[in-house]
Assembly symmetry: C2
Homo-oligomer: 280 residues x 2
């Protein structure tokens, strides 16, 4: 009976320590108390403590130095592959490294009801559906599912989409892109996505849903994106607007267009926000 | 031994079904196969299936109708309390209901290293630290930790912060707010935050880190916010800018200032994005 309960306790300790590390309460370089102390503090067995620590070591949040102890890692996990959304939204720049995309599936199917509604499809109407994983080198950071109305989808092939960004293909088809609306949320990695993004099942993911419209207001793309938060965050600068007492912020204009590149998709590899202040 | 492994399997089934429900692959109103069928399909025991379904029922993603079966809930969980970030950022509007804040702690302490670095504090320098939970009625949706340099913090009291938004208090102190930069990510609910936000431990959370600067570029506030994604999402409208082939979006200007209200903090209770298309 107790054996069945222990994984829950280990998860509790894991989440507790994870919080303390990511908030900086346990500082980088700090040595953790020994396993017996941690077990006594939290009222659990040493086995439970070890299981929680194992997971944090696997995630590079902790580091074991044999004969010395367990330490909070001095650098952000995967710091060099962290990606940021540079300016307010989707202004893409390359910062020395390229992202690469793997097209996992390409076909036509009747989408799930929320996607069909967003695209304004008739009941039973098919859409062009593609699933892609975007990588930096060998490190996957996003899992992208797109749906495009069939009449637009038929203007490009699987080979086209394997090579070119979807937005460029939409424009090639004659679509004039108008507005988009998007929603950013958070979710957990299910078993399939976890495998593709090289994560533990149940890991946190940033999620984005974007509906792109043409000039007439017709939906031409539905994007659902899942991002590894250790490799991709949305970052933006804001300026204060409005009268005193009104809490309003407006986005700052994006950096000079000269910096814009035409590769990648809404992502640029840069140092994480918390590293910027320490950079030379 | 097997007893210890089952919770992992149940979590796997839970995450799998959760994905299918939230993506619409399992449609609202749809009846799930019976527990023996699900157990056979996934190669697990009925006890494991029941455990996964129990959690989805508790989260109002599934509904059991005795003698009939288990159904995908027809409405979004907690639909009526879902909150959106209406326009690009922090333009606040009231939509009929007010948010309320509970001040959980107020004091002065040396912050963790990343916060101290963001605020430009000297080693050992204290900051005014406050923890608040924001609610809609009885439903908590955000957990906010703020740090303010001591010299600014001393211009307001605990009672002030319990009643007024922090940004208003900063401006009352004579600070002229300049820019802010923020980063949006995702994380998991640790045991403490889970309790306060009335969530299961390990549930996904949206996280936001914002550093607010005064006109001279000095940091005057560090905000770390955690949001329940079922009750709060970031939403924005974008317009296409730049040449064809450049994938660039710019935010649309916020709605008329007349709609702005001076209560709440960066949140408005509205219907979720997916409901908007169906609203009259």
């Amino acid at each position: 009976m107790d054996a069945a309960v222990e994984p829950f306790k280990a998860r509790r300790i894991y989440l507790l320590l994870r919080d303390r590390i990511s908030s900086g309460v346990l500082a980088a370089g700090e040595r953790l108390p020994g396993e017996p102390d941690l077990a006594a503090t939290h009222g659990v067995s040493r086995v439970t403590i070890r299981r929680a620590l194992d997971q944090l070591v696997a995630e590079k949040m902790l580091e074991r130095r044999p004969g010395v102890g367990t330490f909070v890692c001095a650098t952000a996990p995967l710091g060099s592959t962290v990606l940021n959304f540079s300016d307010v939204f989707s202004h893409l720049k390359e910062m020395g490294r390229c992202t690469e995309v793997r097209l996992l599936s390409f076909g036509y199917a009747v989408p799930a009801a929320p996607v069909a509604a967003a695209l304004g499809l008739a009941p039973g109407e098919k859409a062009q559906r593609a699933v892609r994983v975007r990588m930096i080198g060998d490190a996957p950071f996003s899992y992208l599912t797109t749906h495009v109305p069939e009449r637009v989808g038929q203007t490009y092939s699987e080979a086209d989409l394997a090579r070119q960004p979807l937005l460029a293909l939409l424009e090639r088809s004659g679509v004039v892109i108008g507005r988009a609306r998007q929603s950013i949320s958070a979710t957990l990695a299910g078993p399939d996505v976890a495998g593709l993004l090289q994560l533990e099942m149940g890991a946190p993911l940033l999620s984005l849903t974007r509906v792109v419209e043409d000039e007439a207001g017709g939906a031409v793309e539905h994007l659902h994106a899942l991002y590894r938060p250790d490799r991709f965050t949305f970052e933006m600068q804001l300026q204060r607007t409005g009268a005193q007492g009104e809490r309003r912020w407006s986005p700052l204009p994006p950096p000079a267009a000269a910096e814009a590149a035409t590769t990648g998709e809404n992502a640029k590899p840069v140092r994480p926000l918390r590293d910027k202040r320490n950079s030379p």
